[in-house]
């Protein structure tokens, strides 16, 4: 795993994309849909990373190494999961600052603990839609990325709507402060569990599809 991730970070990810997580600073905007801040990851980083890898013939390089064909997919999954976690990790301090600056909260979902749980789930969904669609050809990028972004926007929209209109939902999804922590921690745990499960599923399906692609 270490070597595959090292390969991705040393060759595939241009250092500039480590700046993208700074879009987490958007959490400092008052009264805003905070999911958008987390979406810059797949608006900017994902298409560029996959495009770079395709242009550089990363697959040709990787299959020359002593790895299995499906490790091409595994390496990229590690890469995406790693960058998703960086995005969340960088956003977290901005969320804390947001909570301190705006104790009255946000008219949409607050940048609280549950929000990060939902973000994990959204990234899991992104991985599940995008990776298997992409690795059907390991070449065509456009439709898979659009489909995955649409799925995530719908997911975020649904989460915001449910918090607004379903009675009781706001109690577990919305709110900041110590009393919200206890209610929202299960949402974070469930989000992380979902992220792991969906990413694992994304890898399984992608790897199986990629094995069938004739390079």
């Amino acid at each position: 795993m270490k070597n595959l991730l090292y390969k991705e970070l040393a060759l595939v990810v241009h250092p500039m994309f480590y700046l993208v997580p700074l879009t987490g600073a958007l959490l400092l905007i008052p009264q805003w849909p905070y999911f958008v801040a987390m979406m810059y990851f797949f608006f900017i980083t994902v298409p560029n990373v996959f495009q770079t890898a395709r242009t550089a013939n990363d697959i040709g390089f990787t299959v020359m190494l002593p790895v299995r064909k499906r490790d091409v997919v595994k390496a990229r999954l590690y890469n995406v999961v790693f960058l998703e976690q960086v995005q969340i990790a960088v956003a977290a301090p901005f969320a804390a600052r947001n909570n301190a600056l705006y104790p009255e909260g946000n008219f949409l979902l607050d940048a609280g603990i549950a929000f990060f749980g939902l973000t994990f789930a959204m990234y899991g969904l992104f991985n599940l839609v995008f990776l298997p669609m992409f690795y059907k050809t390991a070449y065509k990028l456009g439709v898979p990325i659009i489909a995955a972004i649409c799925a995530c926007v719908l997911f975020a929209g649904a989460a915001e709507t449910i918090a607004l209109i379903v009675p009781g939902a706001a109690a577990v999804l919305d709110g900041i402060g110590p009393q919200a922590l206890a209610r929202q921690l299960p949402v974070l745990a469930a989000g992380i569990a979902l992220f792991v499960l969906l990413s694992w599923l994304a890898y399984r399906v992608s790897a199986r599809r990629f094995e069938r692609v004739d390079l």
Binding site: N3, Y6, K7, A10, L11, A56, N57, D58, G60, F61, V63, M64, L65, P66, V67, R68, K69, E211, R212, D214, L215
Partner: protein, 288 residues
């Protein structure tokens, strides 16, 4: 010791099929894999390495089933699809820093030696290297993890005669200790006349011949005759080209009869390839 054995490899595409491709290679030899463009050379190499999903057949490396021991066997294989065609804009130094991590038996000293010998500048990027230098960098990577089996697709195409000769000499040197073997595909038959011990000839997805080079050359004769002689011998010809003064064709040595009165001479590999290809195309008449 048998380093490589390919058995009944099959792959079906819509308009092309690899049919029961089988051949084997012992340690300490060079095998040339020849055939016209599109005959299936690279597809065979890719199917052997699992890049293309095979529809049938098995591959054994160092006596072990490749599919079962893929990870382990790849540690002993140097594989290149025609030089370095990846990461064109990244310095060699960084590419190497990634590659070396994947090999348990990476030998940094050997790597330095080959880099010096090939006069490679590690600060350069693949895009700044000539075709020959790219092949050499790919070889340096393969040799630095002590690969026993080198599988190279078209390593010599695109190289000038000097660079080609240099590379072929290096191939000879590499197999001298009897530990390594090289299988390389090419459509430049003169390369093989210089250095191959064995020739495997593929035509339209089928192996036509796979044997020692001299044996292969001895098995055929280029024959020349007059138009009157043609009809008597034509069933025995692999194929022939007709011209104003008669014909020139290829025949198996055992089919050459003194009573035919044909002029027979030893073929070059190119002749064997060309006449077999004509037979495959069913094109025995002159193209003009």
């Amino acid at each position: 010791m048998q380093l490589l054995s390919v058995q009944n490899l099959c792959k079906n595409y819509d308009k092309f099929r690899l049919k029961d491709v089988s051949f084997s290679l012992d340690a300490g030899y060079i095998m040339g894999f020849i055939g016209p463009n599109g005959a299936g050379k690279t597809t065979t190499l890719k199917a052997m390495m699992g890049l293309v999903k095979k529809d049938g057949g098995r591959v054994f490396v160092m006596g072990r089933d490749f599919d079962e021991h893929e990870m382990d066997l790849k540690q002993h294989i140097g594989f290149s699809l025609g030089g370095v065609d990846y990461y064109a804009k990244i310095p060699l130094r960084r590419i190497t820093s990634v590659v070396r991590r994947f090999y348990a038996s990476w030998d940094d000293e050997a790597y330095r030696r080959y880099i010096r010998r090939f006069e490679l500048d590690e600060d350069k990027r693949p895009t700044e290297l000539s075709g020959g230098m790219r092949v050499k960098y790919a070889l340096a990577l393969a040799l630095s993890h002590n690969a026993r089996l080198l599988l190279l697709a078209e390593p010599t195409s695109g190289l000038d005669p000097v660079a080609r000769d240099d590379l072929l000499e290096l191939f000879q040197e590499l197999i001298e200790d009897g530990e390594r073997s090289i299988l390389f595909s090419t459509h430049i038959t003169s390369d093989l006349e210089k250095c191959a011990d064995y020739i495997t000839y593929i035509e339209n997805g089928r192996i036509v011949e796979s044997r020692a080079r001299d044996e292969l050359l001895a098995a055929y004769r280029v024959v020349k005759g007059t138009p009157e002689q043609y009809s008597a011998v034509s069933p025995r010809l692999i194929s022939a080209k007709k011209h104003a003064f008669g014909f020139t064709g290829l025949m198996r040595t055992e089919d050459v009869r003194p009573e035919d009165g044909l002029a027979a001479e030893a073929p070059a590999l190119e002749d064997i390839m060309i006449y077999h290809a004509r037979k495959e195309n069913g094109n025995e008449e002159p193209a003009v």
